[in-house]
Structures are given as C-alpha cells and as structure tokens.
Symmetry: C2
C-alpha cells in the first residue's frame, strides 16, 4: 500500500474510477456519436425521399405527414449534441463527412443559426403537411431543403 495515499487514497482512486465509469455511461464514445448522427441524417434522407415521391407522383397526405413529423422531431431533437468536441474526425458507419470548420469556435454562432433554421422550417413543414395542401407542402419543402443545402455547402465535405 502506498504509505502516502494510504486507505483514503485508495478509496479516492476507486471513487475516480467509478466516476469515470459513470461518465462513460453518460458520454458515449465519439465513434458512437458519429454513428448516431449519420443515422439521424439517413432517417432525414429517407423521409425526404417519401415527401419528394408524393410531390412528384400521387400525393399521399398520410405519408407526407408521417415523414414531415419525423424530420421535424429530428431537426428539433438536439442534433448538436452529436457534434460534441472530439467528433471532428473519426468513423461511425463511415468516416465523418463533417468539415473541420464545423467544430471551430469562431463558427459556432453560424452553425447554431443553420441548425435553428433547419428546426424552424422543418416544424413549419410538419404544420403545413397536417393542413394537407400539396402546393403549400411543396413550397415549404423547398425551404427545408435550402436549410439542408446551406449547411452542407459550408460544413459537409464532398463525398
């Protein structure tokens, strides 16, 4: 036994290890966060495709409502936490496509604005979809897609 640490030192070490364990449980690994954000954007892509199919083919209100609600839930669901420090590089399902600029402090305000725009326009799309007018959905869907593109242009690397 370390004569300086003694019993209380050992107890403190146990406490630190236990605490690190608890922290690990609450803070998933960067690779897990990257996998989740890649998954979340895939779910957005799936639902985006459903709305597009409805607008280009036979309009199906029920499909569009479900898809718009899912996109809105994800857009408002705290995606920012999946871009935590340490996730600027790494592999989820695949290497992240996020540009390093996304994680630079000087860009945080701009990133926050882009995320808020996505959330705002997606919520509006869910509202418009529930009302059921296809022309209004098409217009609002365009606004949502422009918020996607705005963020991709600045912060997603080309495949």
């Amino acid at each position: 036994m370390n004569p300086i640490l003694g019993r209380s030192g050992a107890a403190a070490l146990v406490a630190v290890v236990a605490s690190a364990g608890a922290l690990a449980q609450q803070s998933p690994r960067p690779e897990q966060l990257i996998k989740w954000r890649q998954s979340a954007f895939q779910v957005v892509a799936w639902n985006n495709g459903r709305i597009k199919a409805s607008l280009e083919g036979t309009y199906n209100k029920e499909e569009v409502v479900k898809a718009a609600n899912t996109i809105a839930a994800i857009a408002n669901g705290g995606l920012g936490s999946l871009f935590a420090p340490g996730t600027d590089r790494g592999k989820g399902w695949h290497d992240t496509n996020a540009k390093p600029e996304l994680f630079q402090d000087g860009n945080s305000r701009h990133v926050g604005e882009l995320a808020l725009n996505f959330a705002k326009e997606a919520s509006e799309l869910a509202r418009v979809a529930a009302a059921g007018d296809a022309a209004s959905v098409k217009e609002q869907f365009g606004k949502v897609n422009r918020t996607c593109k705005a963020c991709h242009d600045d912060f997603r690397a080309k495949d």
Copy 2:
C-alpha cells in the same frame, strides 16, 4: 423492327422501361431500405439512452421531451415500409438482424400488433414526458422498452 410489335410495340416497350425507371425512383433498393431501418433503430437507441441517462442521473425534462418526441415520430412514422418484401436478407450498414420469420405471411398480424404496441406506448411516453413527472416517465419508459423487447425476442437474431 419486329413486324409483330411494330411501332406501337416499340412505344409500349419504351413506356414499360420509363415506368420501371419511375418505379425504381419510388421504390428504393432493398439494401437502401435495410440501411434506413438500421439507421432508424440507431436513432431510437440514441434517444433511449438519453432518457435512461436522465432517469438514472439528473432529470432533464427538455432532453427527455426531445428524445421521447423523436422515438414517437419514428414509431409512428411507417417503419413497416422499410421491411418490404425482398429485404428479408441483405446488407445495409451491416447484414440484417431480422429473422426470416418476420417476413412470413403467417406472422404479419402478430408483427403488425407488435408495431402498433410500440407506436402506442411511444406516443404515450411523449405525452407523459411533456407533463414532466419523472416517476411517470420511468414507468412509461419501461412499457416502451417492453414493446422493443417483445419484437426483438421474436424477430431479431442475436448479434
């Protein structure tokens, strides 16, 4: 030129090819559907973890509401379409874990009930989360998890 088909036959062939193209646009490949459903369940897992962390640590109503809303949107969002015929085997992000039994006609009613239970309990969780009582959320969260387990027990292969 085929003397029997003639011009109208060629036109019909063009129409069939064009129609197949439109169908391909509206009906994503099985691998794409598998990737989307694997993504959707990852998003559920992410949000499940957020609620668990809140129930086991410091309760954060805003976090729980966002997470519950996302799970409810996905549970009610038409997951069934991601298990279309032809997706009983194949690779999305990884080989599907779905058991062949999930796709057997004789099980469709049971599968439908399990899916409805998930949707119903997830919707109730979103309602309870908005009300903000942690004890009620914990109880309802348990009910949601039991609907997950019921389906996994019957239809998800062990890793």
